[in-house]
């Protein structure tokens, strides 16, 4: 098992090196310093910033230096757009808010989608199934942004406007969960719910497809021939097999949710990784962009490896080989 994990890690090293290479190269295509300082900057200002960042060194030197920074997790340079803050502190501060809306989102959407998919697969071909599938397609056809706009309106704005007794959701903002857990909840709940609803359409279809595929397998016929009841077949035989692709999918969406929540973070003003990245992109905050992309990619790769490991845990065919 450990050998398996290590093999996966080693296999992904060149991929990660490639990401860093591409990121750094892409970000240097446009002159970051000139972009940040604008047209009115003097040559000496440009030169100073360039030198500060070591952007005048040969690319290969910069590459090596940045890799070494990643290895030590040492992003101590100052952010350009937020003077006085190191990239590292921005990064570390933005992780908890992102996680507080990402993790519940993954868990809840996976659960709900799985239940709906099971219902759909159970009534396969019948009216219930067809209605659910069609609803999923409808849901998938609406823009994420529209869900957010109307979600905020109906979830938070309208109750406040009508002065309802229960106002479970805040309109926007974020407070750390450690110090203010109750407020944290009101801030995070609505974005999480919206994210779940958005994810539901695609997830349900995917899980249903997996389950329908599993339910046409030979071992299902064997179980039926043994006299197993339909719920037994669905929940015992099929579900355990379907968990394999489903886990893969859940894990694969994790890093996407980090960014899928970019939109939620920006709209609800939650200071997470996505919002920081977009702020940095808009403000040409080069050190932050570079560090964030590299870290996001690292998280992504780690989650892929984790997926493979989990996969092995569920599937005896992988585990025991």
């Amino acid at each position: 098992m450990w050998a398996y994990v290590i093999r996966k890690l080693v296999y992904n090293i060149p991929v990660y090196l490639g990401i860093i290479l591409l990121t750094m190269a892409a970000l240097r295509v446009r002159d970051p310093v000139a972009g940040y300082l604008g047209k009115n900057a003097t040559q000496s200002q440009i030169d100073r910033l360039t030198e500060d960042m070591g952007l005048d060194d040969p690319f290969i030197v910069q590459y090596g230096r940045f890799l070494w920074q990643i290895v030590r997790f040492d992003f101590s340079e100052e952010s350009w757009a937020q003077p006085g803050r190191s990239v590292r502190s921005i990064l570390i501060d933005s992780i908890p808010p992102s996680m507080s809306i990402t993790l519940p989102q993954v868990a809840a959407s996976a659960m709900i989608a799985m239940v709906i998919a099971l219902i759909s697969a159970y009534f396969r071909g019948r009216l219930v199934d067809r209605v659910l599938v069609f609803l999923a397609v409808l849901g998938m056809s609406i823009s994420y942004l529209v869900y957010i706009v109307f979600g905020q309106f109906f979830g938070a704005f309208l109750p406040q406007h009508l002065d309802l007794k229960v106002q479970p959701f805040a309109i926007q903002g974020y407070l750390p969960w450690l110090t203010e857990p109750r407020n944290w909840l009101t801030y995070c709940l609505l974005p999480v719910m919206i994210g779940v609803i958005v994810a539901l359409g695609f997830d349900t279809r995917f899980y249903r497809a997996v389950m329908v595929e599993e339910s046409s397998r030979d071992y299902i016929v064997t179980a039926t021939a043994k006299g197993a009841s339909k719920p037994k077949i669905m929940f015992v035989h099929m579900l355990k097999n379907a968990m394999i692709p489903i886990i893969t999918r859940i894990m694969a969406t994790l890093p996407f949710l980090i960014t899928g929540s970019i939109l939620l973070e920006v709209y609800f003003n939650i200071p997470g990784m996505g919002r920081q990245l977009i702020t940095a992109l808009v403000a040409n905050d080069f050190p932050v962009i570079q560090a964030f992309v590299s870290v996001l990619a690292l998280l992504f790769i780690l989650s892929i490896i984790l997926t493979d490991v989990l996969y092995a845990l569920v599937d005896p065919r992988v585990r025991l080989s």
């Binding site: 396969r124 071909g125 019948r126 046409s216 397998r217 030979d218 071992y219 016929v221 064997t222 179980a223 039926t224 021939a225 043994k226 006299g227 197993a228 009841s229 339909k230 035989h237 355990k240 097999n241 394999i244 569920v314 599937d315 005896p316 065919r317 025991l320």
Partner: protein
Amino acid sequence: MTNRPDTRSRGLQPPEQEVGRGGGFQPRDGRPKAVLEVRRLTTRFRTDDGVVTAVDDVSFDVLAGETLGIVGESGCGKTVTSKSIMRLLPEHIASYGEHSEVRFDGVNILRADSRQMRRIRGDKIAMIFQEPMTSLNPVFTVGWQIDEALRYHTNLSRRERRERTIEMLRLVEIPNPERRIGQYPHQLSGGMRQRVMIAMALCCEPDVLIADEPTTALDVTIQAQILDLMSSLKEKLGTAIMLITHNLGVVAQVCDRVLVMYAGRVIEQGCVREIFHAPQHPYTQALLESIPKHGARRSRTHKLPTIRGIVPSLRHLPAGCRFNDRCTYCQQRCIDEEPELIERGLPRPVRCHFPLNQALASADHAKGER
């Protein structure tokens, strides 16, 4: 089968090897009891390109304790027939004819509710499938999967079930069963998995065992072992077996009676001895001719090499006799009208306007009667 019948003469040499030896079936008091009666079974599939009738008006009995063989080329509807008997076809695409009946123990299986079905499946009628590689659930241990059948159909305690499972595995000659029950299907070889399937099917001592090409996916030597195993278990447990196969050699070895199917229909049925001795349907004859010499290895892709032409698609069946485009004896009448499956004074029911070997068959039959 060592002997390859002469193709040109319309008479057949009786095979040297004795056929039908595997049967524990001895009709003692005239007519043995039928455990399973299939009447006018018609199975249709709804597909993207319209409805296809995969099994068309098939009737037969499975008698207590006998081994009934069903033979026919790939795609002729053998699997569909057997799955229809257990209602294992996907309900949302398969439907049965309105006069179709599968009677077991006074119940019409095709109309039974799900509780009745659960009681019959696995307990009264069990099934073994063609593909041992995919028929077992990959994420449960084999012990768990055999145990499952016992859980549904017996009141044994956990300990007793475990003992029974081990006993069954021992019965199907799996070495070291105590260790094997903790293993997953992918850790077993194909032959081993098929043995597990057999153990699973027989653990509740069913009245009928349907074996759908249980050996096709296996190595020749393993095939023989599995067949021997099935025959001996049948003797021990008194189960009737419905054996589906391409392999007439297998039929000769283990079956008492045989049903020949072509394009969804029964075209001839009778005792193995009689059919091998004097086939009445040109298709049966062609099938017999295509049996390879003893020992020649047959691959799955190379099933029946000597019948010219191909099996007609169910969507484009020829008018008249369904076999007419491949039949050497085809005449105008065969194209004009489809033959019925009637005896017409023949010893055995045949679906052909111009049956072969009539004299021989009658004599044979008379011998059998005596």
